[in-house]
């Protein structure tokens, strides 16, 4: 046990101030009243849905929670069910085999709700393309999307900026 505490003290606090966003965030906006967005400030529960990604975006989403980025400090946390989520974070081109599951997850999320599409595949099907028998479409072809974060995969900083942009309702969150 002593070694464990020594390691904690030696490691110290590694959390960094949030970096600047690259030019990767696209706010589709206008759908939700700012008043509703205000309600999510301070506490936001996210359900992550992989609609068919290659798992690259998932690795970076997991990284949002590491001690450097510490997503929790913004009051944002991941939850295991859409039933008590405020936001869906969706990755991947939506495959034919995931189309129904994504729609059901969206419907199971209580309103008002936000959707952030993460990664080039979620935005426009990426390397897999729309003209593909196995792909149902980009995320916005299947469910309404509020913010798109581009990148393959996007950096954790861009993803956090994207999540905050969805809550704040503007492209430049504080």
């Amino acid at each position: 046990m002593l070694e464990l505490f020594t390691k904690i003290i030696k490691t110290g606090n590694r959390t960094e101030p949030l970096g600047e966003a690259g030019n990767q965030i696209e706010v589709l906006g206008g759908k939700l009243q700012n008043a509703i967005r205000q309600k999510f400030r301070g506490s936001l529960a996210i359900r992550e849905v992989d609609a068919g990604s290659c798992n690259g975006c998932e690795l970076e989403i997991i990284a949002m929670n590491n001690c450097y980025y510490d997503l929790d400090r913004f009051g944002v946390h991941f939850v295991p069910s859409p039933r008590f989520a405020d936001m869906l974070l969706v990755t991947g081109p939506v495959t034919r085999n995931m189309e129904t599951a994504l729609k059901m997850t969206y419907e199971a999320t209580p309103g008002p709700k936000l959707v952030v599409a993460v990664g080039d595949c979620a935005a426009n099907c990426g390397v897999f393309g729309k003209d593909n028998y196995a792909i149902a479409g980009a995320v916005s072809d299947i469910i309404p999307v509020d913010v798109i974060v581009h990148g393959c995969p996007p950096s954790p900083t861009d993803m956090i900026r994207g999540v905050l942009a969805a809550i704040e309702g503007s492209g430049s969150p504080g």
């Binding site: 070694e3 390397v127 028998y133």
Partner: protein, 529 residues
């Protein structure tokens, strides 16, 4: 280098009256491809089993433009001393029927089911004829890998339900999970049957991440294909792009510059370290040991940042291309990378003692989800999962492809095959990868990192295997007209290892399932393609 055809298996087959014909348009000759008669198909698999060969893969391909109209089925096996060998047979295009080999190699079942789905090949004698990648809502006559099926076909939805295995009896309950899981992971469905706390049976239903990858490969150049290969499974971008590049280079008889080969191995070992570090953290997180997870994810992030800095991508995507690599390291970066790798390895060792000294964690992992040596051999489990159960299958040793032919790779080998051993193997592999990286950096060959890729003529195929962090990836490519690919058949280790998970979790308490699942960490995307 003398290129001598591998005739060992052909001789074994001929002892049993199976006639083989050596195929000239396949490379490399050391991993030869033999044409056999369809009626010898099952018999040949039986002989492979008798010779203690490991099942590698099973796939099909329509004949290219260069050939007469035909549909081919392929299977590959590996022998510890006699390397890999491929067998091919031809099927009737209009009514393709292939004999079943799953009675000799259980791992072939899902691949045979995929052949039924994707090619409309009827596998004669297959016990489990349910659909696999092709979900019930696809039309009955949709066989996407046939040339008559256009890549952009919009399929009309169909009705139907998957017939899960049923369990009945007093106190048995059923528990469906997924495809949307509780954690931040890929989509898939698990159907549990449990009695009290214990799992009676867990059945996997995959295919949710099917993106038509093999179909998209058709018509790409080898350079375009590299980018797609990196997205077969994004956590294995290096290993998959390397396997693809190597198959293409074998087909084209292309020697890659030595410096590029060394860089590929450095990238691959770094990818192995990063994933092992992240997953050990994940296993500890599922065991309620948050400290280890926080520490491991911190180290993983340090690696990602170094990758961004030195190679331009946090997950090392798009760095390997057919003909070489897209990156280089100057003397200063080599020094920094070596130093960081050593520091990481020593921090991991320090954390390992804390992990080993934490009884509440050890109690969860020791003895949980064991896979016996017999079962592991019979399935042909790969990578750290096979090694935890004492199965010695590592392509870096079996095939000793460059640069591993000049590095003595040490393979850790367990016997218990439980979560604790799987974690132990991964700790060992982190240390070993760090050693390999430092050796490679110390001894970096000079010269260019790329050579022009000149595609072979139509009809030439190439095969190779690469040991990614999950285990052996097998890759077979055939070129068509104008230097484009007309078929790429890839087998991620997960296609085989998923079977091990089903077996491991029997009798395991339901709350320990996540620990087991994470200790396997099979790829969904790599399996579903």
């Amino acid at each position: 280098m003398i290129h001598e055809a591998n005739t060992w298996f052909a001789e074994r087959l001929s002892d049993h009256g199976i006639v083989t014909r050596y195929l000239e348009d396949h490379h490399p000759v050391e991993m030869s491809c033999l044409q056999i008669r369809r009626l010898d198909w099952t018999h040949a698999a039986e002989e492979a089993r008798r010779q203690d060969m490991r099942f590698v893969s099973l796939w099909a391909a329509e004949a290219g433009a260069h050939d007469e109209e035909a549909l081919y089925a392929y299977m590959a096996f590996a022998h510890l001393e006699h390397r890999h060998v491929l067998l091919r047979t031809d099927l009737n295009v209009d009514d393709p029927v292939l004999p079943d080999i799953s009675r000799h190699y259980v791992a072939a079942v899902r691949m045979e089911r995929s052949l039924q789905d994707m090619f409309g090949i009827r596998v004669e004698g297959l016990v489990d004829t349910r659909r696999w990648l092709k979900h019930e809502h696809w039309p009955e006559d949709a066989h996407p890998m046939r040339s008559s099926f256009a890549a952009n076909t919009r399929m009309e939805p169909n009705a139907g339900e998957y017939a899960f295995i049923k369990a009945e009896g007093d106190g048995v309950y059923e528990y469906p999970v997924g495809p949307v899981h509780a954690g931040i992971i890929e989509p898939g469905h698990f159907r549990f049957h449990a009695v009290g706390e214990k799992i009676l049976n867990m059945e996997e239903r995959l295919g949710y991440a099917h993106k038509g990858i093999e179909k998209i490969f058709e018509g790409l150049t080898a350079i375009q294909g590299s980018r797609l290969a990196g997205h077969i499974s994004g956590d294995s971008a290096v290993a998959h792009t390397w396997a693809f590049a190597q198959a293409c280079e074998n087909a084209a008889y292309l020697e890659v510059p030595e410096r590029a080969v060394a860089l590929r191995a450095i990238l691959c070992e770094r990818e192995r370290m990063a994933n092992h570090i992240g997953d050990i953290g994940g296993v500890c997180n599922d065991g309620g040991f948050a400290f280890m997870n926080v520490q491991m994810q911190r180290l993983r992030e340090d690696m990602a940042r170094a990758h961004q800095d030195m190679f331009g991508h946090r997950l090392l995507m798009d760095l390997i291309i057919s003909g070489g690599v897209n990156c280089d390291l100057d003397a200063n970066s080599q020094h920094r990378l070596s130093e960081q790798t050593q520091n990481l390895a020593s921090e991991v060792e320090e954390l390992r003692t804390i992990y080993a000294d934490h009884p509440s964690m050890q109690e969860r992992v020791i003895g949980s989800g064991p896979v016996s040596i017999e079962d592991a051999k019979s399935i042909g489990l790969l990578g750290y999962i096979g090694r935890a159960s004492g199965v010695y299958a590592d392509a870096r040793v079996e095939e000793a492809y460059p640069p591993y032919n000049r590095l003595q790779v040490q393979i850790p080998q367990g016997t218990f095959g439980d979560v604790a051993t799987r974690v132990w193997v991964r700790f060992e592999e982190i240390v070993e990868s760090a050693r390999l990286i430092c050796n490679l950096l110390k001894d970096m060959p000079d010269g260019p990192v790329q050579t022009d890729f000149i595609a072979p003529e139509a009809g030439i195929s190439g095969f190779d295997v690469i040991e990614g962090w999950r285990g052996e990836i097998s890759a077979w490519v055939r070129f068509g007209q104008n230097g484009t690919i007309d078929r790429y058949a890839v087998r991620d280790p997960s296609e085989i290892n998923w079977l091990g998970l089903e077996l491991a979790v029997r009798e395991v308490p339901v709350p320990d399932f996540p620990l087991n699942n994470k200790s396997f960490n099979c790829s969904y995307s790599g399996n579903d393609l």
